[in-house]
Amino acid sequence: MTVEHLLIGVALVLGILAGYLIARTRKDHSTERPQAVHQILLPFTGTEISRRAVDAALRLARAEDATLMPAYLATVPKQLPLDCAIPTEAARAMPMLEAIEQRATGQGVAVDARVERGRSYRHALARLLDNESFDRVVVPATAESRAGLSGEDLVWLLEKAPTEVVILRPGPEDDAFVSANATAPAP
């Protein structure tokens, strides 16, 4: 065996080793992407959502390695086309989604947010259910009758949603909100 043969052998071994390392690196990259197999929907309206509801949805998502889909439900007045831009509503939704996403990221939960338009909150929710698939829907019931989804909406959701629905009953901790500015107790 000459020195030339030895060098060729070393080069081959190095080449194989480099190829293996590259393949491993690529595999690592691909496993980092969240696989949206399981999804938990967290619909909300307005400019704040109970922290208890967010935490409950995050706990479920973490336990099941699921992706949390916070979805802001926006209403579009009847005189406007349903698919029109809604910058005023979007200005409310964006900071809320940001706040939820920050909270989720801190707990290691993947997030895939949505804003859905409808003529009413229920209509927006129905459109969302039609267009996406979920394993679970987490929705906070509220003691405030005028805020967000009504009791009738929740009954409708229980009847129509093709998946498990978790309705959180109003509780004393609902005074704490995830709001556009921070995750802080309400004044």
Partner: protein, 386 residues
Amino acid sequence: MCAAQPAADNQGVRSARRGQLKVFIGMAAGVGKTYRMLQEGRAEQDAGRDVVIGYMEPHRRPETSALADGLEVISRRRLTYRDTDLEEMDLPGLLARKPELALIDELAHTNAAGAEHKKRYEDVREVLAAGIDVFSTVNVQHLESLNDQVAELTGTRVRETIPDAVLGEADEVVLVDLTPEALIGRLRAGKVYPGENIEAALGNFFTVENLLALREVALRQVAEGVEAKRLVIEEPLGTREECVGSEAPKAVAERLLALVRPQPSSQRLVRRAWRSAQRLGAPLELLWVKPPTQAIDGEVERQVTALRHLASVLGVTFLVEESDDLVQGVARVARERGTTYIMVGESLPRRGFARLREPLPQRLMNATPPGVDVRIVSHRGHKEEP
């Protein structure tokens, strides 16, 4: 548009050229569009031009009516529709009179049945085609593209709209501006509507909030029109190859471009970019540079649909550029769109041979025209949550 030559000099050649259109645009009724149009019409007449009023709506405003004194008025034409007599502009009469300049109020007006055209802007087009210059007026909420936005801002939708192209055809657009407080003052003084309508107007449409929003829309509309014309004028001459090497036209305002990929984390970038665009009052575009070999199916399709949906909610444009080279694809779009600001998300940690390459923001800075800023949007969640 400047004061023209005396009538006799150009009578023979006038019909050979298209007339020039000057539009006075305002945020709402009462800012003084008609008044300003009449003022400029009189100035043109004083300069020796043949000026007539094709149609004017004085809205029972004495100051406006007084300004029209001394200007020839083409009598209105009566049209009968369902036993009702309606007055419209006499288009045939105006064309037969053939002045140098016609003042035609309310560009967005819908004509009564029986008129030559359905809309007044169509009348104006015919007048322009006859070689007659036109001054006209319009409110910003009558523009088709802004109609939805204004309706959302003010809760009031106007039925009479004009295509944006009509304003685009104007040789000059003049913004007649007034502060909301001054307009409300005029309204209270009875200079806009008669007394019985004042309180209703103040309670509905003419609120400070509505007027502030409308004023912003009007100012932006005119600024964007000026910018668009500037960009066209400054388009460098020569072949595409020559242009690529040359400096891109500089836009007056900021124009944001956010680089997205079909994955959930891009939504965060879009949200941040949109909020920045809102603060800057700048248009935002989303760009996905798609490798030609990448198929749009499964999870990719779902995420592309989600991005399109978000773009539609926000009223921004979603662009897809096919290119093997991300940086060159972005640079090409940035040049074509006059981008001033590129926003990118945080990259994944670089591994293997990728560490030897320059980081993406640096490559973007090198490839895009000078003056284009690149901003990396951080993943705040990692840093703030305990």
